[in-house]
């Protein structure tokens, strides 16, 4: 399917965009899934903690049968998309460049995967538009408008994720933020959002519970396999989690892995 322009009169025009005064037309490649969308956004300069959480959120949102919306940027955006696609969930990426310009280029596989799993790529800009920084805040307002709720995983004191959250709040979207250490730069934005009234996220299960109050009960069921949370755990943490010795934990891990119940992702163990 090739990219096409969607305007406010079209059937495919998302309801959320009616909250934007100018009702922008946009380019669409792929499809906009019917299911309710949740935006998962955050800083490009994230920590492993942020990546783990964003992936977990993407995964639990997909498992609940909802769509994950993000901006395909490095860091949190990438992790959120990846988590969602791991469960073949619906994903929408809204770009700040032309619809055929994958930025950053290393996310091309992700870009392609979003399309093959029935998601969509959205852009306000004509094909070939380069990824200029000044276009990103405008892109963020589309993310805020399309989503039914906005989850900020990690954000510094300034940055695009905070713009998305503010625009979303102005349109009446509930904002969720992951609380963090008060002395950590990439927690500061989230902690401020919480002070200003955002819901603190207490974990992936908590997030789904809170979201289902807003957008209705999930279509799928949530499970956490063998005490391994969706966000995954380092192999070295397993003995403590399972309360086993190293030898026992490694044996159990290998058995679960061979049965396909868990799998490795880098040095993390994640539900299979």
């Amino acid at each position: 399917m090739s990219a096409r322009v969607i305007a406010s009169g079209d059937d495919e025009y998302p309801a959320g965009f009616f909250d934007l005064e100018e009702r922008p037309s946009f380019w669409l490649e792929g499809l906009l899934p019917d299911s309710p969308s949740v935006a998962v956004v955050g800083t490009r300069r994230c920590t492993r903690y942020g990546i783990d959480l964003a992936e977990a959120f993407g995964a639990v949102i997909a498992r609940a049968g909802w769509t994950t919306v993000s901006g395909l940027a490095r860091g949190i955006d990438t992790a959120a998309h990846r988590g969602c696609l791991r469960l073949s969930g619906g994903a929408v990426a809204i770009l700040g460049s032309g619809i055929d310009v994958c930025y950053p280029a290393e996310n091309k596989p992700l870009y392609d995967q979003i399309l093959t799993t029935g998601g969509g790529i959205v852009s306000e800009y004509p094909p070939g538009t380069p990824p200029d920084r000044w276009r990103f805040p405008a892109r963020n307002r589309l993310i805020a408008a399309l989503a039914r709720a906005i989850v900020v995983v990690e954000a510094g004191p300034t940055g695009g994720a905070l713009i998305t959250a503010r625009l979303g709040a102005e349109m009446g979207r509930p904002v969720f933020a992951v609380p963090g250490d008060v002395d950590r730069e990439m927690s500061e934005g989230c902690n401020r959002l919480i002070r200003d009234g955002a819901h603190p996220v207490l974990g992936s299960a908590d997030l789904v519970e809170e979201l289902s109050l807003i957008i209705g009960p999930p279509a799928g069921a949530i499970n956490a396999d063998h005490g391994i949370p969706a966000e995954g755990v380092p192999v070295a943490d397993l003995p403590a989690i399972w309360a086993l010795t190293v030898t026992e934990a490694l044996i159990k891990l290998s058995r679960l892995e061979l049965e396909g119940k868990v799998r490795r992702s880098g040095d993390l163990v994640v539900p299979g």
Partner: protein, 475 residues
């Protein structure tokens, strides 16, 4: 007038006799030295003359010609001072001919005999050829520990002259002393909160598996690597001699310590420093200094790729051949390679608390330096994270782990390991499910054998294989 004494040269982790031939000719004050001496040996002329005069012995006012034979063998160091001095005095008939005896030692200008690097080598040569040997008293008891060696220690040239005038029979040989303790590598029980890494270190020690540790700075990678050397079984006496000779060839004294070497070259080390080199004489590199011990490559990605690649041949062959003008020396290099690396240039990729500032392309480049054949050598790869939480595993001391490692190593050495059907089935399933590559299967099997041996068993069961399969972390 002519006399000859025997001294020693260290070549490729072994010893060769050097005959110190001295001729005293017509009245003159010339002193000639031949036989491929290096600068330090050439300077012996001045030290010997001064030391003899300080010892209240008349230095012959004649042409002195010294030849170190075989002439083609390069000689280095200051240990030829004492044999040259004794040769000169014997040729001048100041003392009786010393007969069959290996002599080493450096002379201070006041006649004091000091220790050089070749004292252990002299004892080895003496024991092998059934001679006595004479050296500085400060190292005599250390050298006397070489099996079969009779070592006489002297503090000064004057004392040496006195002994030789009276005959060696009247002088009691040195008593073998306790080997000197090397600086401690620390106890394994000091590493808390890393039970999985401690297990990997134990498995590496028992089975000789090379170990790669990665993780953010401050995770204890260096601490664990040092402790690996401490849980290896003690060197046997034979091995201790072998290791001491290699270290002596590099100018280090470690006596007959039974402790395993731990070498940790900096990433700026040259290729010659890593695998061996030297000018004139062949000097062993870090791979040989780590022989029978641990070679720790910290910050592996900071080493130039070409330097890392030089490690492959010694890893493969267990020895290194260093060719230098006039001599080709082969040093043994059987070691456990332990490498540590950060996950990315800034070190914080994957850290749960700190952001990584590296661009993805920089991370890819960083990892590429390690890719390829060298990475294939690591049977064990562990990730070290900063951990919280409780530990169920007993925090054992190095001594406890060392005895288990020693027993496992003996079981493995007997080569009677067999893989049970259940263990084999697990490997097959892992291969079919794509958890392992064919090469990975071999690696897990080897580690599984070691894990079985650590449990005191010769049959590798499903549980052993499952633990081995768990002890791998994708890099």
């Amino acid at each position: 007038m002519y006399a000859a004494t025997t001294s020693v040269a260290l070549v490729g982790g072994d010893v060769r006799p050097v005959e110190v031939q001295v001729h005293v000719g017509r009245p003159n004050d010339q002193f000639k030295l031949s036989g491929l001496p290096d600068t330090a040996v050439r300077e012996a002329k001045d030290r010997v003359r001064a030391a003899v005069m300080s010892s209240k012995i008349e230095f012959p006012n004649r042409t002195v010609t010294v030849n170190l034979a075989p002439a083609h063998l390069p000689k280095a160091g200051t240990d030829f001072d004492l044999p040259i001095a004794i040769g000169v005095l014997a040729a001048a008939r100041e003392i009786p001919h010393p007969g069959k005896m290996v002599v080493v030692g450096e002379l201070a200008l006041d006649g004091t005999v000091r220790s050089g690097a070749s004292s252990i080598g002299a004892a080895v040569l003496a024991a092998r050829s059934g001679q006595a040997c004479l050296m500085a008293a400060s190292v005599a008891s250390e050298a006397a520990a070489v099996p079969g060696a009779t070592v006489h220690g002297v503090n000064s040239l004057a004392e040496a002259v006195e002994i030789l005038r009276m005959g060696l029979a009247g002088h009691p040989p040195a008593v073998a002393g306790e080997p000197a303790r090397l600086p401690s590598v620390g106890d394994l029980s000091e590493v808390r909160g890393q039970p999985m890494a401690r297990r990997a270190v134990e498995v590496s020690a028992a089975g000789g598996h090379h170990l790669l540790m990665h993780g953010p700075p401050g995770g204890g990678k260096t601490m664990l690597a040092r402790r690996l050397a401490g849980i290896l079984p003690d060197l046997t006496q034979e091995e201790a001699v072998e290791v001491a000779l290699i270290h002596a060839a590099a100018g280090y004294r470690r006596g007959l310590s039974r402790e395993r070497p731990f070498r940790s070259p900096h990433h700026t080390a040259s290729r010659q420093a890593l695998v061996g080199g030297g000018t004139g004489v062949a000097v062993p590199g870090e791979v040989s200094l780590a022989h029978r011990g641990v070679l720790f490559i910290d910050e592996m990605a900071e080493f130039p790729r070409a330097n890392l690649d030089t490690l492959r041949q010694p890893l493969e062959d267990g020895h290194v051949t260093v060719a230098r003008r006039g001599i080709t020396a082969t040093f043994p290099s059987v070691f456990r390679l332990v490498a540590a690396t950060n996950p990315c240039p800034c070190g914080f990729l994957g850290d749960r608390r700190k952001p990584c500032n590296c661009r993805p392309a920089a991370v890819a480049r960083y990892r590429q330096r390690l890719s390829g054949p060298l990475l294939d050598r690591f049977d064990l790869v562990v990730k070290l994270d900063r951990l919280d939480g409780t530990e169920l595993d007993a925090v054992e001391s190095s001594e406890v782990v060392r005895s288990r490692v020693g027993e496992a190593a003996q079981i493995l050495a007997a080569r009677s390991m067999s893989v049970g059907d259940d263990g084999r089935l697990l490997l097959k399933t892992a291969l079919e499910k794509g958890l392992l590559t064919a090469r990975g299967v071999d690696r897990v099997r080897r580690v599984g054998e070691t894990i079985a041996a650590l449990a005191g068993e010769t049959r590798v069961t499903e549980d052993h294989m499952a633990e081995a399969l768990g002890l791998r972390v994708d890099w």
